[in-house]
Symmetry: C2
């Protein structure tokens, strides 16, 4: 597990769509799986449950995230936290997404106005 913690974060890009959704949710704070799906829905995205829980296992193995105990309010929930390295990967992917978005704007796929 986590055998590549020292690789430069950018070497993992592009991330799978689900993977970034997970890291993005956890960037705000610790979350359990089902909650991550709800976060994604709030952003207008859909994550399949099977895809999610397998992604959580995968990202744990890579040590981009780590288990952060059970929720005291509902002990079915096992929540996760971003690791330091996971945060770096998330930032790298966010930067990539931003430059892609700008490229899309230059390509006429988005209105010039911007935010």
């Amino acid at each position: 597990m986590g055998m590549d913690r020292r690789r430069p974060p950018e070497s993992h890009l592009p991330l799978r769509p689900v993977e970034f959704q997970v890291l993005l949710s956890l960037a705000t704070g610790d979350r359990h799986g089902y909650r991550i799906i709800q976060d994604a829905e709030d952003r207008g995205e859909r994550i399949d449950v099977g895809t999610l829980y397998r992604a959580l296992a995968r990202l744990s193995d890579r040590e981009w995230i780590r288990p952060a105990g059970r929720d005291p309010e509902d002990d079915r929930r096992n929540s996760y936290a971003l690791t330091e390295y996971g945060l770096e990967v998330a930032r790298a992917e966010a930067a990539r997404l931003e430059s892609l978005t700008q490229a899309a704007r230059r390509g006429g796929l988005l209105p010039e106005v911007a935010r």
Copy 2:
């Protein structure tokens, strides 16, 4: 082939990373495969050749792109063009990418400044 041309473009999101790279390149003008790889490199992205040519076949089947003849300057090159529907899918994905980028900014993964 292309049996789902009438499905709302957003129903295909999120796109695979390669797929958007292809659509983005073609948004600027007709391109042949190898050129699409070079475009991606100019943006700092890497596309595997095997992944690219299979993606081109796939996107042709879906009619998001269509063959646009051979390059008169080098007849090895078979170039592709975006279809109307492919453009709509590309716009939808670009919009999704933009809102994701903004979510990443809110989550502290990107500097506030932007613009």
